[in-house]
Symmetry: C2
Subunit: 331 residues, 2 copies
């Protein structure tokens, strides 16, 4: 069968462009014993995969060209040599940016027909689980505390803010446009939303956090992390989830001033985490997230791009802050 | 009675100099009801007090001129209106840089005659307790792990390294002279000592930490913190105790590169702490430290300066790395 793919054609020098990718068409073999053939229906584009194009200083490993761009997707089993998976099953898989892919059974997660498969790219998937464990187990918010989150309208951020609200916290989102602020305040129940591109950003952040910040969920690093350090309360927690401000460049900034000085003065804890450290608690977390969704407390925002060939532009635009919620490519 | 004092005459612009201080002689009153008059026998000079001359971004509060330079000291009660303290008692007190001082009883700690009073400026005092809680409760080293400490020959660092050795860790000290390295290796049982002024510092650090670093006790911030980040193992802990590299300047560096990126990739925890958060555990810690000293496992190095008037030069020299162990001014 013919497989449409988007390959990494060259590694970005400076900012990523759509020209760093190329379309390809190849023949995909029938599944060998133990393999399952999946037809992609949609995949997610996440900022973290930009780090995978960045060289060895990333958890994504060293970058390569000529390979399919990686991503998590959802799809349908169209051929299977494995008893556990039947033709027609909906699955989550590391599909990459392509229409067809072969997987060993252990790489697949079956999606309960009661669920919308696309939720497994958002709240029930990597983004939702990252928000859940980063906020609850690293940030440890208590009711009545103030939680600040950066990239607050992003795939992880918009879920973090809602989970903090569910936990009884005051929620302050930082994002890069007033249209995003409207979504956070109007649809997702954030208490305040501050635009980091505003010339008065620092003052606006101060006004939005009259009782300081107890938990900062950091998706960006850089200047916004620096601003959070100055608003943190004594014994505050910073959950370090990602560094989107530094991904799309080949000259990352130094760390913010005040590290480690402000960490000492305010007895702050900064802790980095990766989702797969929590793998044994995924099922429990998914159950909790699902019940929040059922109750209408947690809303999943998705931002769809149509067609495989639109993925590169969709990624470039995402890195420039163009998305609201989880960006999904419908194949 | 006449009281000899060292006053802060001006706030340093850039580096501290002895000229920022002046000697003064004033009359001290007899103790009022509830007060105790203490004659200073010795006081400690610690790098952290430099932060108190630095403006508001410090736990030491906003700086003032015309006041006595602060410090912890030991002394003898020479007049008392309080039943709990009698003439001749040895006490620890916030004496400051002066020969006489008046205190409320609650500011004083009586020294057991079984102890050498000066130990209360080192291992049994602020430095020892800081090393103890920072290493054990923030760094949480396990036997067999590698512990790295900066300012390793300093008042806190030389105790941290020995405590880590007692806990069964491989101990790597970073300091600024080969003479200090000799002390760490020859007298204190460090496994390795690396001079950060060496042109090959990064390579030497790598060679000294073949299994990476599990716990980094950071007294310096700056470049040495940056170097530690690259040597940290997954799930490592960084105890942020002080920022001596940034105290003696009015233009502190930005934070090291790799924050927060390396914190995420390696799931590191950086945690700042201040000693007084552990006040309820001081007695227990002092008992443990005392028994290590009795057993000969923990050696206290002191570095004495003679006479009150020598304190300013002693402080300037300490900030330039001139001390080995706890710098004490004998009055």
């Amino acid at each position: 069968m013919r497989n449409q793919q988007v390959l990494i054609d060259s590694l970005p020098q400076g900012k990523l462009s759509a020209g760093n990718y190329r379309l390809a068409e190849t023949e995909i073999a029938a599944p060998k014993a133990g393999e399952v053939l999946v037809k992609t229906t949609a995949f997610a584009i996440t900022a973290g995969t930009r780090a995978g194009l960045q060289g060895s200083a990333s958890y994504a490993g060293a970058p390569t060209t000529g390979v399919v761009m990686n991503s998590t997707g959802v799809g349908e089993v169209i051929d299977s040599t494995v008893e556990a998976f039947s033709v027609g099953d909906a699955v989550v898989a590391p599909t990459g940016w392509q229409t067809l892919s072969l997987h060993e059974a252990r790489a697949l997660t079956k999606i309960d027909p009661a669920h919308n498969p696309v939720d497994y790219l958002g709240p029930m998937g990597v983004n939702g689980l990252t928000a859940y464990f980063g906020l609850l187990q690293i940030g440890k918010p208590k009711a009545g505390e103030t939680v600040m989150v950066s990239a607050a309208a992003g795939s992880v951020g918009h879920l973090v803010g809602q989970m903090a609200r569910i936990k009884g916290c005051r929620v302050v989102g930082v994002m890069g446009s007033d249209a995003k602020a409207d979504v956070l305040l109007g649809q997702l129940g954030f208490d305040a939303a501050v635009n980091y591109k505003d010339a008065n950003y620092r003052q606006l952040l101060k006004d939005a956090t009259p009782d300081g910040v107890d938990v900062y969920f950091d998706n960006t690093g850089g200047m916004i992390l620096g601003s959070a350090l100055f608003r943190m309360n004594v014994a505050g927690r910073i959950a370090c989830c990602g560094v989107v401000s530094q991904y799309d460049t080949d000259s990352p900034e130094p760390g913010p001033r005040g590290i480690p000085g402000l960490l000492v003065n305010k007895r702050l804890t900064m802790q980095g985490f990766l989702l797969f450290d929590f793998v044994e608690q995924y099922a429990e977390a998914r159950q909790q997230i699902h019940s929040w969704m059922q109750a209408g407390d947690l809303i999943s925002l998705t931002d769809e791009v149509k067609g495989l060939e639109a993925a590169p532009e969709g990624f470039v635009d995402l890195l420039a802050g163009g998305n609201v919620g989880t960006r999904i490519v419908r194949v």
